[in-house]
Assembly symmetry: C2
Homo-oligomer: 100 residues x 2
Amino acid sequence: MKNIGDTLRELRESKGLLLREVGAELSLDPTLLSKIERNDRMPTKEQVNALSEFYEDKKNEVVIAWLSDKLVYEVQDEDLGLIAMKVAEKKIEYLKTQKS
Amino acid sequence: MKNIGDTLRELRESKGLLLREVGAELSLDPTLLSKIERNDRMPTKEQVNALSEFYEDKKNEVVIAWLSDKLVYEVQDEDLGLIAMKVAEKKIEYLKTQKS
DNA sequence: CTATATTAGCCAAATATTGTCAAGTCAAAA
DNA sequence: TTTTGACTTGACAATATTTGGCTAATATAG
């Protein structure tokens, strides 16, 4: 249940890699990656995809941290945020039954 | 568990009001309101506030429909959407304990 | 047919997000 | 103490997205 920045930073450090090394690998400006890891910037979907591929063993963890951060951001300081979240869950579950 | 457009349309029609009447009341272009009611445009927070005040007895219903729609939109066609939603819920619950 | 309500398409303006660079901090090495 | 390397910060330009509202098209009722 970590945020996307902490998740990425811990993954990178656990491999002993530098910002510029990961950046070079993914053609991502190291200063931008720095901001992402400090939750100063939200990575784009493409960046998350690249990062999750890069840390392949933790692919889902990265994507989930990112998506859930975006959701939290969407309802931050809304009184009805949590209730809306539960309603949204039901809507998604309903949409899933429709598709299949 | 309706979407924001259907919610607003039903509220307006239940009162027998026209797009231009509600629009005039809220200084909202009727063609824009039309789009909102058909889920073609997402209303802004300000517009939702105005609309929920206007339909005062259903204030929360409007806001929740809007917020939950935005959340669904955020994770639409993401395989991990539902899981991320549950994680986001926990994050919000956690943040709430922090504030108080 | 006429009048009124709603919808559709379009595009400019407003807003928000992104990427990049130069300058800054900080810690450890030399 | 100076230098070096890793990272951070702030500012700004470039892009992308969202928004408002006009005009024209379509429907619906009388």
